[in-house]
Subunit: 247 residues, 2 copies
């Protein structure tokens, strides 16, 4: 089953409010890390899997990507994306699992915080490896496996009597598969995979790993929002840059 | 400062007793995982960094490695190694940090559970990249970063009133550097690095990552020793196989 939680009205309202504040972790950690991994996209055909409201698509388009395709399962998010403009960006209303493209039709595939929603990661990677040209690049981020591992059964942060964070609770690391958790609404479905499973799945599809990031916030953001220092205590995100060999 | 904790009599006694029972995690998790990553060593010149009592050196020698060099800082461990025989294995009494070898003099470098004792991992990797021939392979294991992260300041497993394991305590993940902990004796010094730091240090030295393992016990061992199922709750070890490109 492919869940479309971003079209749930209560989830969408909560998620939109968080993004509007720009006070979440995405803006302070994930987006700078993603930007640091992107190649010069001028002239590249780019596919964005799980494009949401299209921020990354617009950024890539503005940076000179000649063809940008954004794929998302949520019509609400795609409505936001289309309303934000960006002539020449093609938006496809489809689950990542259902999307298909001609072989060797993209130079770069990006995916920001979407792969933890994908049940069959190996199948998705097999598609990406086909759609990329030789020498093509994949850059993606996802929730870190130490965060997805015990999601839904553990509290995340263990806290003392006064509510202060004592440590992060890690459990069920090798118990890969579905996790059901509360994020704005009950029943948000994600899939836990270990770091080793993620990296080896890339290697099995012929990718060469070029960079692995577990970002904390950039120092300027930490200075502005000291609560971000807490994110150094456990890694919230995992990002990987990988490349297909040239033919 | 390079610590030589294996020559501490109390540590050595405790460590030797654990190994003698063959009931630790090394035998059930780390050794099978390491074996699964090793190439066919027949005819290869092999360097073992942190060889301890020489078990892996003897195994590689028996499997046809033509030259095996074992390096260890502990004379007590090397005494065990030499007493166990293995004609043609060369043992060098030196810290990993102090060892040197001619350029391109080894086909394979292995290191079992020693790199978390090495302060300057980048320098050690730079040496290994020099000592390996083009196309040469590095296979190593170390304590997993989710285990070294909060060592010395946190309990490892958080337990309930009855002593049962509730979850693993993760903290200080991005606070890389020295950790002082109790293992048989007080003051055992290790160095915490994140998974991303470890993998990127390999990439920076020109290695291609070939496999990443976070092993749990093999099923036969889990059937024989059900307590090993607990090791699925957090990864105790990280292993990496990496290769230098052929010239």
């Amino acid at each position: 089953m492919i869940q479309n939680i971003y079209d749930n009205p209560a989830f969408f309202a909560g998620y939109s409010a968080l993004r509007a504040t720009r006070a979440g972790l995405n803006e302070a950690l994930e987006q700078p890390a993603m930007a640091s991994l992107l190649p010069d996209v001028a002239g590249l055909a780019v596919l964005d899997l799980g494009c949401g409201a299209g921020d990354l698509c617009r950024q890539l388009h503005a940076a000179g990507a000649v063809g940008v395709t954004g794929v998302d399962v949520s019509s609400r998010m795609l409505n936001l994306a289309r309303a934000a403009g960006g002539d020449g960006i093609r938006y496809v209303h489809q689950a990542i699992e259902d999307f298909d493209a001609p072989d060797a039709s993209f130079d770069l595939v990006v995916s920001s915080l979407a792969f933890h929603y994908v049940r069959d990661f190996e199948a998705a990677l097999a598609g990406i490896a086909r759609w990329l040209r030789p020498g093509g690049t994949l850059v993606f981020s996802q929730e870190h496996p130490v965060c997805t591992a015990a999601q839904g059964t553990h509290p995340g942060w263990a806290r003392d009597e006064r509510g202060a964070k004592r440590y992060w609770t890690l459990d069920r690391y090798h118990d890969e598969g579905m996790r059901e958790s509360h994020w704005f609404v009950d029943g948000v479905i994600k899939y836990h995979r270990t770091t080793a499973t993620i990296l080896n799945a890339l290697l099995d599809q012929g990718f060469r790993i070029q960079r692995v990031l577990e970002p904390h916030a950039v120092p300027e953001e930490e200075a502005r929002r000291p609560e971000l220092l807490e994110e150094r205590r456990r890694p919230p995100f995992l990002l990987v840059k990988a490349e297909l060999p040239r033919a």
